[in-house]
């Protein structure tokens, strides 16, 4: 356990320009808390899923702006940071049931005509804390290739940093969201077994069996449970 006895290494960090000293190894989020901040905005799942804690940072010796999720990024010596809590970007108006694509049309360009003004600066991609190929799926959106937008944007957390950074005022994350909803509702093949089961349940096909189970004592259920057949995990 030699590591336990290791001396605490303290780092200098700058929160909105103000200098603090924090132990190494903290995430930006826990460093803020270590410095005494009780966060209200800019904190959600604390595990990299919700996109609430978008943060920009650079270094005292390097002005290049970088982007991160505060909960997923470890502080470094001379880091200068400020959080950009989520703020909503413009969103097109639609009903998902009306998004059915037509041959030769492009629903995304209809909803977001401005996407054609994208000039490929790639700032969105550089900004994305999930390392998604944002500019690529914007190109796919311009071409109306919903499947590719879905595929490439699926891990998007909607943190909004791409829209905040876009010099053309585009909203890549909202455009991708519309594409994915469109795909699920209109392009994904229907799963017949599910529709059949929904109908069987509506018709009351399982009611008698459920009624019998609901009346069983714990002992009866325990016996049945122990005997149940378990399908292999695949």
């Amino acid at each position: 356990m030699a590591e336990v006895a290791k001396k605490v290494q303290m780092l200098d960090i700058y929160i909105m320009g103000k200098r603090y000293r924090v132990p190494e190894g903290l995430t930006i989020q826990s460093a803020l808390e270590y410095c005494g901040y009780n966060i209200i905005r800019g904190c959600g799942c604390r595990s990299g899923f919700c996109g609430a804690c978008g943060t920009i940072y650079n270094f005292t010796y390097d002005p290049t702006i970088r982007y991160a999720l505060a909960c997923q990024t470890v502080v470094q010596q001379n880091m200068v940071m400020t959080q950009i809590p989520f703020f909503p970007a413009a969103e097109a108006l639609y009903n998902v049931e009306d998004l059915e694509p037509k041959e030769g049309g492009n629903k995304l360009a209809e909803l977001y005509p401005d996407i054609l003004t994208c000039f490929g600066c790639n700032n969105c991609t550089k900004t994305c804390p999930q390392d998604l190929e944002v500019m690529e799926f914007m190109s796919d959106a311009i071409r109306g290739d919903y499947e590719k937008v879905y595929e490439k944007s699926f891990d998007c957390l909607l943190c909004g940093l791409c829209a905040a950074r876009c010099p053309q005022g585009l909203q890549p994350y909202n455009i991708a969201l519309a594409a994915r909803r469109l795909r699920a509702a209109h392009l994904a093949p229907k799963s017949q077994h599910n529709l059949d089961r929904v109908k069987e349940i509506e018709e009351g096909q399982f009611d008698a069996e459920l009624k019998r189970l609901k009346k069983m004592s714990a002992d009866e259920l325990r016996e049945l449970y122990a005997k149940r057949e378990i399908e292999p995990a695949l």
Partner: protein, 565 residues
Amino acid sequence: MPYPASMEESKRKVEETRPKRLEKGPADRIPAEERDALVSKFHPDFIKEQFRELRIGANKGAHAPLEIADLLEGNSRIDPGRIDLDKVDHDVDVLVIGCGGAGGAASLLAEENGASVLISSKLRLGDANTIGAQAGTQACDRPNDSPAIHYLDIVGGGHYVNVPELAEALAKDSPDVIKWLEELGVNWDKEPDNSYHELSGGGASRRRMHSCRDYTGLEEMRVIRDEIRQRNMHGRKIDWLEFEPAIELIMDGKGQVAGAILMNLETKQMSIVRAKAVVIATGGMGRTHIQGFPTTNHYGATADGLVLAYRVGCPLIHIDTMQYHPTGAAFPPQILGFLVTEKVRTLGAEVVNCDGEQFAHPLEARDTEASAEIRECKERGKGVPTPTGEVGLWLDSPMIDIKRGEGTIQRELPAMVRQFGRFNIDITKEPMLVYPTLHYQNGGIAIKADASTPIPGLFAAGECEGGVHGRNRLIGNSTLDLFVFGRRAGRAAAQWAREVKLGKLTLDHVRKWHREIKEAGLEEMPVSPMLLPNYARQERYVPGFQPLGQVSPYTPFGDRAVRWI
């Protein structure tokens, strides 16, 4: 170099034993008799001194975890004498408190059923445990499955104390939930033959877990949230307030719930909502850090809904049982307690000890799996110590690609690959170190099958309600619960709102509560609901300064920082 030298030797043993384990297959399942004995000896729910009897309220005499008991018996944040209920800020049919999957579904269904809806969200719209749910949503829609088979899994997993009507509703609504979400725009994983891609899960006897890669909850939540926004933009009667949680319910003179008092977290101003029906959908309690456990839960999971309901006299059920997820990250320390989805095990990874030996079937129900892990570390001394003083066991993820072909991990578990990759651990090549983490509140507010509570006008849905899962919830049944009971609550609340006649608004229940606290000598209890944990380093406070919320006994750095640096 991701793992420190002190852990490398044990990691090597995992690699050495891997071929043999792959050949032999998983460990045997634990027989039913042994399972009960194992759980009652090692599961945190059975550590008596961590619980105490409630002294006031609808569950007086029942036991609750110490952390929850303190909140339930807490003091109100308001002084009823200083609040003018005639000044109503928002007048709506249905108030939904909380906006994760359950609150979102309830809002949509209430609106569809003709009610005007206001959502009170403590953080942003959609900031909830839902968004971090990874593995999937169960639904009994394959031909060899049925609601009856699903039901038996639910009650067997729940130790046979589930409320039968609630378990039935969960199973019966499940295929329709999947269909509903797809129509709204949720992209479920599918097989080449267009059927759903369905995996097995701990305690499930059929493959019925529907997934969206390992971002299932995120996909569900971003679609639900967008649908709420779209309806609002269309001018439909659905609106929300962010960073404005409920701090107390309002009643009317007839004993009906009639709204709530909200507090703007940033300006600390209060607002008064009159509502004909209230749906509580505030989620879980992980941020109370029961028994000092780290948690998988989001920042706002502080059991607020339990407190609100308890204060108007609503009973709770199974509140003494929590779920400890068997695989929380035990290393690196920056993500201590972070959820490692059960899908890792459903895809074929095993949990093994410091010598690379199997000790339990990887797909036992969660309480059993967690208990076996605690036994392995505490009784048998077969855990792997970390430099920060934690202990863990290996989750041998590289097995997945060996069993299912290269690229499976990257395709099925992109979130896990990314999150561990951020700390230089490549889970396609190296195992993860895991230990049980506080994950889910099995019990909660007592409801009927239509999500109504015994208090007129009050409904509850999602993790904050109880009885559905008995004393142990199965994987994929939580995201299902959200939509099954969220939708039921929305429908029932809209129906109730159409029929009810509200009387004069009152806070007499709060006055009565404070009298009871005084009589029981509990004035020293904290103020509740807790709203947010307070992780700000404590010694920085000026004496006399009153921080927002309670000072948490647990901090993500605090003592731990001293231990690991």
